[in-house]
Amino acid sequence: MTAMKPANPLEMVAFVLSQQIKDHQIIYVGTGLPMVAAILARKTHAPNITLVYESGGQNPIEGDMPWSVGDPFTWRKSPIIQEMSYSFAQAGNGYVDIGFLGFAQIDMYGNINTHMIGDSFLKPKSRLTGSGGNNDLSSLTENMVLVGIQNPDKFVKKVDFITSVGHLTGEDSRKKAGLLGNGPIAVVTNAGVYDFHPQSKRMRVKSLHLGVSFDLAQMATGFELLRPDDEDVPVTPSPTPEVLEVLRKKVDPHGVFTSIPGM
């Protein structure tokens, strides 16, 4: 038997995201890596979770990877499909435990931008998608996990537009603004896993992936990262060969979201 190739960066992110999920939770997912992570969690350590999608699909039976959050695979034989206003209300009413969101930019308080790049809203350098459900989930969900690529263009001092509030200006500013839930509890990137300091709510290294030093992570970040309490930065655990096999054979067999050409 040939040895299994180690996890590529996308597989690593999917695995780390799956580790944020606990059994019996209700998970609000978008397409892409969060969906891969949720299905991986269900097939490994969390078989009793329920997936909720923006299309209103709930708890679909197992099938292929959806091509979109509106894909029939997101509501495949769902006992109920919620209208959009009700679907987000689930998060507001406490029927969503954890949600996953992507970003184009993020700041040290976990505020995120998916609206535009540039300094003029009316004439942006680049107009992006806007909120979609990003703001709704950030505003309402008990625990948010943010996921994206880490570089100084994305990890910035100040986001060009606050699409969704994380910890706003730190301390208890999120709560004062009237928002629900704990806000972001983790940021997962190709370099590491971050959490937020309990008081200041500034982004802090929790662990870095194998081969990534604190200095390297800092170089990929446009603001000052906080160090973890431990003197040595923990290394993010990698997936076991068994988990990798589930990911490759049963979760994303065509490598739609987790393959990197040439790897």
Binding site: D64, P72, D136
Partner: protein, 365 residues
């Protein structure tokens, strides 16, 4: 002084001088009057798509993007709006994916956005370019859920709702309709966002089935459409099939739009092509990739793309022929029925050759 009170910071940030253009979306009285003036009788409302669009979509109207971006969305009706040369429309929708291709030739001039683009197909370069060149004006910025609450408030007959969304974000500073307010039911500090009920002028909803009076059945995600039908001043229902009223009486599952909202009923098989129509056909995934990866690249590619697929097609049947005709129909039906698990999935493969600018497989199914 006008009748409506707008968020001044947002007016400034969006550079909106004359607020008259904003009024109709929140004018509940005029929507109510429009609803009262309709012929409320149960009558045969069937017309052709051409007639429905000519009669009920007027230049400058606030139109909706219904369904879910490209799921059960009235693409073929939008294409007819374009072929009829309608002008200066406002578009509102969560998502608001489709108005981008109506901007280039002036069919649509105004956005009420919660989302533009099409997920991982890539950002919408055309929308970005039209915005920078001033061919489209953003009148309000939303999230999916907050806009959905505005439609839902209208359906419930309420002036609006107090929401916990948008707080602290820059969206509230770019939406003239919403205001941060203290929760009137509490004494402690509890900020909310007041979202007024939203009343578009015209909504076009594609349903799996409708009867001739307009009772309509939706299978799959309803998204905002039940609310939109209740709110809009004018409602066009297009449907894959027109069924006898008795069919909806004896099997009323999924009937979410009552006839009285509806002004026109159009029998429109393939009305959601090239989008996904649950129970009927899957997306043409390659078409959307081609549109976003090649069509939106620059003004020339957009012109060519729209000439080929919109202005150069007489109707949905010509469009389906271009996608591959009977082969496309059979394949896309199999795909969606399999995804919905109404067809056997064991051994069935969803993989396909995606469109890339370097390699056009030339196949749309």
């Amino acid at each position: 002084m006008g009748k409506f009170s707008y968020n001044q910071e947002a007016l400034k940030n969006l550079n909106i001088q004359d607020t008259k253009i904003l009024d109709r979306l929140v004018d509940s009285e005029s929507a109510r009057q429009a609803h009262l003036k309709k012929d409320h009788s149960q009558r045969d409302k069937r017309v052709s798509l051409k007639e429905a669009i000519a009669e009920y979509v007027k230049d400058g109207d606030i139109c909706t993007d219904a369904g879910f971006a490209y799921v059960r969305t009235s693409h073929q009706s939008y294409f007819e709006i374009m072929r009829q040369g309608k002008k200066d429309l406002q578009f509102i929708g969560s998502p608001n994916t489709n108005h981008t291709y109506m901007i280039n030739n002036g069919h649509c001039k105004y956005s009420h956005n919660s989302y533009v683009g099409a997920e991982m197909r890539g950002t919408d370069r055309n929308y970005s370019r039209q915005l920078k060149e001033g061919r489209v004006t953003i009148l309000s910025e939303w999230s999916h859920g907050s806009m959905a609450q505005g439609f839902k408030a209208a359906q419930l007959g309420l002036p609006g709702v107090f929401s916990k969304q948008l707080l602290g974000s820059d969206i509230v500073r770019h939406n003239p309709y919403v205001k941060v307010m203290q929760n009137p039911a509490r004494d402690d500090h509890d900020p909310c966002v007041f979202i007024p009920a939203l009343f578009p002028d015209v909504t076009i909803i594609h349903a799996q089935a409708a009867d001739r009076c307009g009772n309509a059945r939706i299978y799959g995600p309803i998204v905002n459409d039940a609310a939109l039908a209740a709110a809009a001043r004018k409602v066009i229902i297009t449907a894959e099939e027109i069924v006898p009223e008795s069919e909806l009486r004896y099997n009323n599952k999924g009937v979410v739009i009552p006839f009285m909202y509806v002004d026109a009923v159009v029998e429109l098989p393939f009305g959601a092509v090239p989008g996904n129509m649950p129970g009927h056909y899957y997306w043409s995934r390659q078409w959307w990739e081609k549109f976003l990866r090649l069509g939106t690249k620059n003004e020339d590619t957009m012109r060519d793309f729209l000439n080929e697929w919109v202005y150069g097609c007489k109707d949905q049947f010509e469009f389906v022929e271009k996608l591959g005709g009977a082969k496309w129909i059979a394949s896309s039906k199999r795909l969606t029925r399999t995804a919905e698990y109404d067809n056997e999935d064991e051994g069935y493969d969803f993989s396909y050759t995606p469109f890339t600018p370097e390699k056009d497989p030339g196949i749309y199914y």
